[in-house]
Symmetry: C2
Subunit: 325 residues, 2 copies
């Protein structure tokens, strides 16, 4: 691939791209721990992404994307769309690189996410999840500013960047004297992380977990074409995973690599958050707990080397208290 092609937003994400992202991520982000957790006598390995500086894995893709922007692009700023974690990832990277950032966020996003995004210096534009399209709002902002879109999942850099979590999982298992994971169970919203892990870990089975009612990717994989969520007003605690529909760039990878998809209920998510509190002593937000929830609920068979993502920890206190009570 030429330098020009590497910078094309239409290029396909690749494992080489994940490795290139890894070399950049290593320079700036310390490795998050891979915490062992015993489940029914078997140890599963939990990638603790709530320990990232912004409290979620989204910082990986944002950093890979923004550091690849040209000088001219940087002067015009970035526009992101996000329910809150990608927002903070983009804001953090933009802040570090001196790039101005505008993020389109749902008005009902958790306060902790809205505040943190603003605290990182980003401009936040609110929209109504039920009645407005965040993509249309972002398109208008880009028309006005000439800025660069940093999509939350449908972007080759973002996919490659999220994949660095998989490279680290492989390295950390090796340090523990274990081989590559037999399977990785991933929290899935738009499919950025799942696609990234698919590229990063070609020998692992990829299992995706979506919250009940927001299982558009599972249904899409069954149907062999991209489908939308049936009811975007379906209530869920997993604000980070409320993506109405995936993008072709994600879907093409997931079609080849995902071996299973399962959904979890709010009660199952709450049980996972509680266990993470008690046994791992970490704060997991609802959307970041669905992979663990699926394992605990027995919806995923535990294999000898199972890795899961605990994707984020940005949850309002009231919600956390309610979930672990």
């Amino acid at each position: 691939m030429t330098g020009q092609e590497l910078l094309s937003p239409n290029r396909q994400p690749s494992r080489d791209g994940v490795l290139r992202a890894m070399s950049k991520v290593t320079e700036i982000l310390p490795q998050t721990p891979l915490l062992p957790l015993e489940v029914d006598g078997t140890t599963i390995w939990c990638k603790a992404e709530m320990l990232q500086p912004i409290g979620a894995f989204k910082i990986r893709g944002a950093w890979h994307r923004l550091t690849d922007m040209t000088k001219v692009q940087r002067t015009k700023g970035v526009v992101g769309v996000s329910s809150g974690n990608h927002a903070q990832g983009v804001a953090w990277a933009a802040n570090r690189l001196g790039i101005s950032a505008t993020i389109v966020m749902p008005s009902n996003a958790p306060q902790i996410k809205l505040q943190a995004t603003r605290a990182l210096g980003a401009k936040v534009v609110l929209y109504d999840r039920a009645t407005e399209s965040r993509d249309l709002i972002a398109a208008r902002l880009i028309d006005e500013s000439g800025g660069t879109l940093v999509h939350a999942f449908g972007d080759p850099w973002v996919i490659e960047g999220q994949g660095t979590a998989g490279i680290e999982i492989n390295e950390q298992l090796k340090e523990r004297g274990l081989g590559d994971p037999d399977q990785i169970v991933a929290c899935c919203g738009g499919g950025g992380l799942s696609a990234g892990l698919s590229l990063a870990c070609p020998d692992a089975e990829i299992i995706i977990v979506e919250p009940e009612g927001w299982d558009d990717i599972i249904r899409s994989l069954d149907a062999g074409k991209i489908l939308s969520v049936q009811d975007v007003t379906h209530p869920t605690m997993c604000d980070a995973l409320q993506t109405p529909q995936t993008y072709p760039i994600n879907f093409e990878i997931l079609q080849k690599r995902v071996s299973k998809g399962v959904t979890v209920s709010t009660q199952e998510v709450a049980a996972a958050m509680r266990l993470a509190f008690e046994k791992l002593h970490v704060v997991v937000e609802p959307g970041g707990a669905v992979a663990l929830a699926a394992v605990l609920a027995g919806k995923v068979d535990v294999k000898p080397v199972t890795a899961i993502t605990l994707s984020g920890g940005n949850v309002d206190r009231d919600t956390f208290v309610k979930m672990i009570a």
Copy 2:
């Protein structure tokens, strides 16, 4: 020092001993992260010991102690006294090494600590904190079994083992391009961790933090002799730091090295637990949050390189919810 002297319970703990402990700890425990936290524009470095397999730093000293036991000693088992974290450390190490463990624990210890200690295979003997002496009960158990006492803080191995947290802090700051810490702010109960850090980091100022009403070491340092807590019925949320009196082996080190001691209130501890929840996404128990509480309350001046211990995360759900509410 000869091999015989190295194994004497009456020997003085040393920095060489900390380094020897480090080589053993590195083999079995992954490094806990050193999390950056911005406080009033300065970054402080938080040693996240709640991410240890038992949820607290106590595993370090217990591992150093038990791995140095002779074959004959191992057959007779160990006896520990602990409010809950040392209990789990001893139980974990004993379990790994196939040594039987009996732990004397207060009947009002957090349920999470009692359950976890039993789950690790240790026998738990309960006592009443207000009316019974745990040391006398332990002495009787040792008389009966011929087992080895593993004291929670007044033991050269335990002090050296806890010091390994300081060696890691130095290493991790170096990886970040920083020098050794100017100061380490440590949660202090009996003084095992503080003494260990004093040995491990001879160039850092050591600041100890005790909960209000349980400031026996601060008062002892002022008086130049070991004093007891004035009222052992004084209520505190910091169950891990309810030590009525330190031991000479700790006091001698602390007298030479501690530059300041401060106390914190329950409200200040709660504020620290809340901030750790929101910004670091980790669960800190009250006793593990006192160092952060002191910094946040402005009771410790933040220096360019300040490290603090977040010593543990074993807290019952109800208590946690009450503290962060």
